[in-house]
C-alpha cells in the first residue's frame, strides 16, 4: 500500500493499534508543551498543532541519559537491551533527515565504530513525518539540503490536508506499515497527492534561502579560523548548552559511572561543546578555554569538520537554536557572515 488517507479523528485509533505491536512515540500535550511521548493506549492528547517540537526525536534513539550497564565491583551485572522497531509519528522532515546524519556517526559508516545501543533503537524503526505547510520564519531547511516535504529519512510522509491526513509511503518499511493497518485507512482521492505536492512546493517557496555552498562555506570557515569577526559573533554568548541540547544533529556525549560502594551503573549522557569541562584535560589544561573557541567549535564542527569527515553539513535548518538562544545567537548570521567572506 503506497498511499492512504486518514480521518483526523482516527489518529488515536491508529496509534492505539500500532502501540500494541511496537513502541510508538507521538506528539502529546505535556505539562506545558507538546512533546514526544510514548503512546500507551491511544487515549493521549495527541496533537499535530505545532510548527516544530522543542525537543527533536533525537532523544528517542539517543536518550539524554541512558544506562549502558550495571556493575558490581569488577563484574558486569546487566547490559540493558534497548527497544527496537520504534515508530515515531509526527516528526518533521528536518528531524527525520537529522537521524540519517546520526546514523552516519553511530552506524557502521563511521570507521566501523557501531554504537550498539543507538543502532538497536534504529533497527526496524519507522519514521512517519509530518510535512510542513507553514514553515517558521526561523527555518532554513531548503538551504541545507532538506525541505518542508523532503522525503529523506522518512518512511512515510504525512500531509495535513482539508480532506484528512494523506499518508505516502516513501520506503518499503513505510508501505508495510500502511499495509499492516490498512483497515483503518481510507482511499485518497484522485487529486490528493497533487494537493499534497502543491502544499509542499508552496511551503518551500515561502522560505527564505541562505547562501549555503557546502564547499565554499567550508573553505571560508577554514580560512577564517582566526578571523576577528568571531569575536563579534560570539561575545554575547552566555555559554549555556541550550543550542546543542535542542539541536537534532548534535550528538556529543559523555560516559560516567554512578556508584554506591562497589555497585553502580555506567551511564551515557548528552554533553555539549559549549561547556568548559567538555575539553578539560586531567592535567587541568583546557585547549578550548574561552567562549569564543567553544562557540566557534560548534559552527566549525557543523559546517567544516563534519562535511569533511561525513560528507554532510550537520545542520538541518530546524531553527531551534535560533528561537531558543537566551541571547539570540543566530546560526544564520554565522552562515551569512562566512558565505560573504
Amino acid at each position: 500500500m503506497k498511499q492512504a488517507l486518514l480521518d483526523k479523528k482516527d489518529i488515536g485509533k491508529l496509534l492505539k493499534s500500532a502501540a500494541v505491536d511496537s513502541p510508538v512515540y507521538a506528539p502529546v500535550m505535556g505539562n506545558s508543551e507538546i512533546e514526544f511521548t510514548r503512546i500507551a493506549d491511544g487515549s493521549e492528547a495527541v496533537s499535530l498543532e505545532y510548527s516544530n517540537l522543542k525537543l527533536s526525536p533525537k532523544g528517542i534513539f539517543f536518550p539524554q541519559t541512558e544506562t549502558l550497564l550495571t556493575f558490581d565491583f569488577d563484574a558486569v551485572e546487566d547490559v540493558p537491551e534497548p527497544e527496537s522497531g520504534i515508530v515515531v509519528f509526527g516528526s518533521r522532515p528536518c528531524d527525520a533527515l537529522s537521524l540519517l546524519y546520526l546514523d552516519k556517526v553511530f552506524g557502521p559508516e563511521n570507521k566501523g565504530y557501531d554504537d550498539p545501543y543507538y543502532m538497536k533503537r534504529r533497527e526496524d524503526s519507522v519514521m512517519i513525518s509530518l510535512a510542513c505547510s507553514e514553515p517558521c520564519r526561523t527555518c532554513f531547511c531548503t538551504s541545507v539540503g532538506g525541505g518542508p516535504a523532503d522525503r529523506k529519512g522518512s518512511d512515510i510522509l504525512m500531509f495535513d490536508l482539508d480532506e484528512g491526513i494523506f499518508f505516502r509511503a516513501e520506503t518499503g518499511k513505510g508501505e508495510a506499515f500502511l499495509e499492516k493497518y490498512s483497515s483503518l485507512f481510507g482511499e485518497p482521492g484522485a487529486d490528493t497527492e497533487k494537493k499534497a505536492d502543491e502544499q509542499g512546493n508552496e511551503a518551500a517557496l515561502s522560505m527564505e534561502t541562505l547562501p549555503v555552498d557546502k564547499e565554499a562555506l567550508k573553505k571560508h570557515l577554514d580560512d577564517g579560523f582566526e578571523d576577528p569577526v568571531w569575536e563579534k559573533l560570539t561575545q554575547n554568548c552566555i555559554g549555556c548548552g541550550a543550542c546543542t541540547y535542542l539541536c537534532p544533529t548534535c550528538y556529543c556525549f559523555d560516559i560516567s559511572d554512578e556508584q554506591r560502594m562497589y555497585k553502580g551503573k555506567r551511564i551515557r549522557t548528552w554533553d555539549a561543546c559549549q561547556f568548559p569541562q567538555f575539553t578539560k584535560h586531567a592535567s587541568g589544561h583546557n585547549p578550548r578555554n574561552t567562549k569564543l573557541e567553544r562557540l566557534r567549535q560548534r559552527f566549525m564542527h557543523k559546517f567544516s569538520y563534519l562535511p569533511e569527515n561525513m560528507g554532510e553539513i550537520y545542520c538541518v535548518g530546524c531553527g531551534r537554536c535560533v528561537t531558543n538562544c537566551p541571547v539570540n545567537i543566530d546560526i544564520r548570521e554565522v552562515i551569512e557572515t562566512f558565505a560573504k567572506k
Binding site: S32, E33, Q64, N236, A242, S256, Q277, K280
Partner: protein
Amino acid sequence: MKAVETEVRNKAKELLEKGEVDLFIGYGKATIPLKSRPIFIAKDSAEEGPDDLVWDSFCSNNLAAYLQKYFENQPNRRKKRETPYPKIGMMAKGCDMRSVVALVKENQVIRENMVILGLPCTGMIDRRKVLEALEGQEVTEYRETEKGLEVTTRDGKSHSFDREEYLQPACKECRFPVPEGTDFMMPGDGRKPGDGGYARIKEFEQKSSDEKWEYFKTEMSKCIRCNACRQACPTCWCKECFADHTDLKWIGVGTDLSDTMIFQIIRIFHQAGRCVECDACYNACPMGIDLRTYTKKIVKDTQELFDFIPDFNTESTPPLSTFSEQDTDGFITDPEEH
C-alpha cells in the same frame, strides 16, 4: 522610549570617543521579533557602533552577567597586571544595577572601572506570553505604542496587547525599577514600584508538603541540564560550579530527577541575599521551568529572616558574607515551624 534611546546613543558615543570607556555593553536589534539582544561596542569596532543601541520593551537580559570576566585574574592576566583592567560602560535597568552592586560587594567587579548609564525602567514585555497568546501564529512585524504592543502575524491579522497585562511577571512585581547610584541617569519616569510579589509565595507556602513536592518534581522533570539558568544569572559567577566538579563529583550529569532537583536546590539557595529577582534564569530556560517561584521564596526568606534585600546600598553586608549571633537559626532548631 525613543528619546531615551537617542540619549543613550549620544552618551555612549561620547564615552567611547573621549576614551572614558573601552567597551560599551548595551542592547541591540535581534534577528527574531520581540527581542533585543546584548551587544558590545568598542571604540573602533567596524560592525556595530553606538547608533545600533536600542532601548525598548524587550531589553530583558541582565547585562551584569557579562561583567565578571573583565575583572577576573586569569593565568594570562595576572594579579600584578601589566595592562590595567578595562573601563566598561553599560546600560542598566534597576535589576542590572542591583546585580552590579552585588558583584561589587563580592569583589567581582571594580566599580571605579564602570561607567553606568541608568535607565528608568518601565518594565519589559513578556515575549513568551505574547507568543502564547498568538497561538503559534508567527510575528512578522511589531511596534510599540503608547498603550502597549501592536503585532502583525503571518496571516495578515493585527493584534494589540495591553502593556500592563503583558509585562514580565518580574517587572510587575519589581520594587526597584529605577536604578540608583549610577553615573549618568537617562531621562524619563520609571514604573511605579511594585509590591515584590510576596503574595504569590505566601499562597504557595500554604500548600501541603506533598503538593509542594509534587510541583517541584513536575517542574524539575522538564530540565535538560543545559545550564542556561546558571549562565544567564549575574550572581552565578563561581569559577567552577559544584555541578561541574568531576574529581569530587557532587551530583550526576544526567537528567535523573534527583540530579536536576539538587542542582536547582543548591543553585537557588546559593542566591540567598544575592538574587535580584530579575528572572534572567527563568527567561533563559528553554524548557520554561518555573524557577521564579523558588528564587522569589529565597528573596522573601532572606528579607524576613535576615532583614536584607539586595538593593542599591553599597554599604550593607549580604547575609551569606557575614555571621551574627543574632542570626535566625529556627530552621535548624525548629524545622517544623519553618
